[in-house]
């Protein structure tokens, strides 16, 4: 047995890579449709948006790059679909430099087509990217137009009807930040702390554990943690809004719920790897102990 384990440990890394690729590809080709349970942080976020009234203005900030798009895209899309289904006014902005602008443009274009009755400039607007992250957040405290004089295409935002009655972030009912890295945290420790605007965060699974401390201190209005949080949110809005439910069932495009099948398979594989690795480790230590 020990010989087998040692041989196992010495196997070429590329066998592990092949096995990982296999266990992710199969669920994509053959969807399993496993059930997804809802956690309280996602329910908090969903209930918060449900409590908003038509005409309220919300801010969706793209603070992630292509390197975490499969986790954050479904969150940003889900939030925008949820808000437009509730006739809220959605203002989109981008503070992350590494490729976030392209993702925001794609989401705004795709969701714009899904809601033909919603008018750009009245129901939703894309303010594009701006350098200076925290300097931008401080300006949003006084006036959105100072930080973002124009929208992503260079059109002055002063004459856009969506900003009727909204001058600064204080009139925004909630900020949803789909985030990786630190920008998401700055919305909490700067914008929420100094201007009071509630924040819902959609972090990558990597940075999600840190935000449990902010949930329990009441600084967050909700959290969609990683791909699982996005999948839970997709299920919640799919159940509440039949139009969205049908979309998520019918679409060929990538969704978080579909991704969860492959997540389950790979989690199984990695747990097995950890167990084998440690069994072999203890076996070899036992033998060293005896020899």
């Amino acid at each position: 047995m020990a010989g087998l384990l040692d041989k196992l440990l010495k196997i070429d890394r590329r066998w592990i890579f092949f096995f990982v690729a296999l266990s992710v590809t199969v669920p994509i080709l053959v969807p399993l449709g496993l059930p997804i349970s809802t956690t309280s942080a996602t329910q908090m976020a969903f209930d918060f948006v449900e409590a908003l009234e038509p005409g309220d203005v919300v801010l969706l900030s793209f603070d992630y790059g292509p390197s975490s798009a499969p986790e954050n895209d479904p969150m940003a899309e889900g939030f925008m679909r949820h808000c437009l289904s509730r006739d809220l006014r959605v203002v989109v902005c981008v503070l992350y430099p590494l490729g976030a602008l392209g993702l925001a443009n794609n989401v705004v274009a795709r969701i714009g087509h899904e809601f033909p009755n919603k008018v750009y400039g009245t129901d939703y607007v894309n303010l594009g990217y701006k350098d200076g992250d925290r300097a931008v957040m401080r300006r949003l405290g006084d006036s959105i137009a100072d930080a973002f004089p124009t929208d992503v295409n260079g059109r002055p935002i002063a004459d856009l009807p969506i900003f009727h009655g909204v001058r600064s972030i204080r009139q925004v009912k909630v900020v949803f930040t789909a985030a990786t890295g630190l920008i998401g945290e700055w919305w909490i420790t700067l914008v929420h702390a100094q201007f009071g605007t509630p924040v819902i965060i959609g972090p990558t699974a990597v940075s999600a554990p840190k935000y449990y401390a902010y949930i329990s201190s009441g600084q967050l209005a909700g959290m969609l943690g990683g791909m699982k949080g996005a999948a839970e949110y997709e299920q919640l809005i799919g159940k509440k809004y039949p139009v969205l439910g049908n979309y998520y069932k019918g679409t060929r495009l990538f969704t978080a719920v579909k991704g969860m099948d492959a997540q389950t398979a790979i989690h199984f594989v990695i747990i097995v790897f950890i167990l084998i690795g440690n069994v072999a480790f203890f076996a070899s230590r036992l033998r060293q102990g005896r020899s």
């Binding site: 440990l9 592990i16 890579f17 990982v20 399993l32 496993l34 059930p35 997804i36 349970s37 956690t39 309280s40 292509p66 390197s67 975490s68 798009a69 499969p70 430099p97 490729g99 602008l101 392209g102 443009n105 794609n106 274009a109 594009g128 701006k130 350098d131 200076g132 992250d133 300097a135 401080r138 300006r139 006084d142 100072d146 930080a147 992503v152 295409n153 260079g154 100094q194 554990p209 840190k210 449990y212 401390a213 949930i215 329990s216 201190s217 699982k228 969860m260 389950t264 398979a265 790979i266 989690h267 199984f268 990695i270 747990i271 790897f273 950890i274 084998i276 690795g277 440690n278 480790f281």
Partner: protein
């Protein structure tokens, strides 16, 4: 000159961040010690204004149009814009030297320069013509957007996707229960992993009669994971946040008061 808006904020910032560096430059030509003092005074001003504006709402400091602090925020959006591509000068220097001197791997330096100039010129073109760098009004992609979608995005997300493979191989080879701490780490990690995905339902798929039992066990595991995240994890994260925040705040005090200067490239001595 008469048309200029000489409100207090703008004039005050011009004195602090305009005349002062010019004076520092002129004096610095001869007196090297000024080359160190000048930036440190500027750092003090740039650091203290945002802090005071949180507490002192006086018109001269915090008024949205007249105040110094909101105007300084507006400046820093522009300065941050300049800072982002700062690495270009150095990369162009290195890569062109490597390409001209045919050092090892020079073709890759050429590829880098080509990628830089093609993408950069598409960006400049988009800004100059007003077409922008996203979708045109008619929904077609600008050249910048096309390159972003079909070159920048796949490369970045794929290099990151490599992590899944390294994660798996690290799980196999590196993550050992070497000591008590590492053991707790791995046990908590595996428990959380089992509670975050319908793992037992996945295992029970080929054995339908076991499904209800698997679902019940999975439910319990999900609750355990949520408890681990809500109680011990959030307690430890809170401790880390408080500790790290105090460390960061102390560092901020040292930098603003000019005690810490390493970021300016000045050693402790000079």
């Amino acid at each position: 000159m008469s048309g200029l808006d000489l409100s207090f904020g703008k004039v005050a910032l011009f004195l602090c961040f305009g005349l002062l560096p010019i004076a520092g430059f002129l004096l610095g030509l001869r007196a090297p010690s000024i080359r160190r003092q000048g930036p440190i005074i500027l750092a003090f001003l740039a650091g203290i204004i945002p802090i005071l504006s949180i507490y002192i709402p006086k018109r001269f400091l915090a008024h949205p149009e007249m105040g110094m602090s909101p105007r300084l925020d507006q400046y820093l959006i522009i300065v941050a814009g300049f800072a982002l591509p700062l690495g270009i000068v150095n990369v162009i220097q290195n890569s062109s030297r490597k390409a001209i001197r045919r050092e090892t791997g020079w073709p890759f330096a050429v590829v880098l320069l080509v990628g830089l100039f093609v993408m950069g010129s598409f960006g400049i073109y988009g800004a100059w013509t007003g077409e922008g760098i996203g979708f045109r009004v008619d929904g077609t992609s600008t050249p910048f957007k096309w390159m972003e979608e079909n070159c920048f995005k796949p490369l970045q997300s794929t290099i990151f996707a490599l992590l899944a493979f390294f994660m798996a191989s690290a799980a196999f080879r590196a993550f050992r229960a070497r000591n008590a701490e590492a053991t707790i780490l791995l046990v908590a990690g595996v428990l959380v992993m089992m509670g975050r995905v319908p793992l037992l339902e996945f295992i029970a798929t080929p054995f339908p009669p076991l499904m209800p039992a698997a679902a019940a066990a999975s439910q319990w595991l999900g609750k355990l994971t949520e408890w681990i995240m809500d109680v011990p994890n959030s307690a430890a994260q809170s401790g880390i946040i408080i500790g790290a925040a105090l460390g960061a705040a102390a560092m901020a005090i040292r930098v603003i008061l000019g005690i810490e200067r390493s970021y300016l490239g000045l050693g402790k001595g000079d």
